[in-house]
Symmetry: C2
Subunit: 131 residues, 2 copies
Amino acid sequence: MKMTSYTDYSLRALLYIAGHKDRLVTISEIAEFHNVSRNHMTKVINNLSRNDFIATVRGKSGGIRLSREPEDIILADVIYNTEQHMNLAECFDRENNTCPIIGGCKLMKILYEARRGFMSPFENATLANIL
Amino acid sequence: MKMTSYTDYSLRALLYIAGHKDRLVTISEIAEFHNVSRNHMTKVINNLSRNDFIATVRGKSGGIRLSREPEDIILADVIYNTEQHMNLAECFDRENNTCPIIGGCKLMKILYEARRGFMSPFENATLANIL
């Protein structure tokens, strides 16, 4: 059980940007700092931008900044956005489920509890809390 | 974020075996019931047997049964056993971590909380609870 590297690097990028809020930062410097390819970091940043966690300033002295205050970026929102899905097991996807015991399965209740338990700390924390 | 199919099928196999505790069951019937290859289910069963969740009776009329009462099989023990690791992010593996902010990172605290929150329902439930 792990988070995707996409989520991991999204959180790290936000931390980096928030940690340099006195200036604009570039994709290249975040990529270099975290020793990840510029290509991968570009995807991460584009997604964060598309979902309005960050804003891009174009031009020669352009760069990236947060689009909201760190206090207003709830970590759970980032994770729901970057994790492809939060389906712990195939039964979470009712349409494609093949498990024959789905109707009376009591494990599902525990799986949902586990997912809630997992997300709860992220629901209650903002980017400001981890700076 | 998802559990491995190995964990999923291990739990399903245990449910099946516990649901037929009046007799021995075979790998083939569990595989057929859950529409998974016999090969995959054999690996699942061998691992459950190696870790003493189930016992195998050899011979012509042999088969599989639980090696303990369902009340004595804690779901978290199964999951710790079947998930390759519970490293939510690379910093959970101190030896191979490359993240440069590991020293002062406050996100880690939340990641550990999330893992505890995830496992808690499984720590508090036995196979008997989900039959």
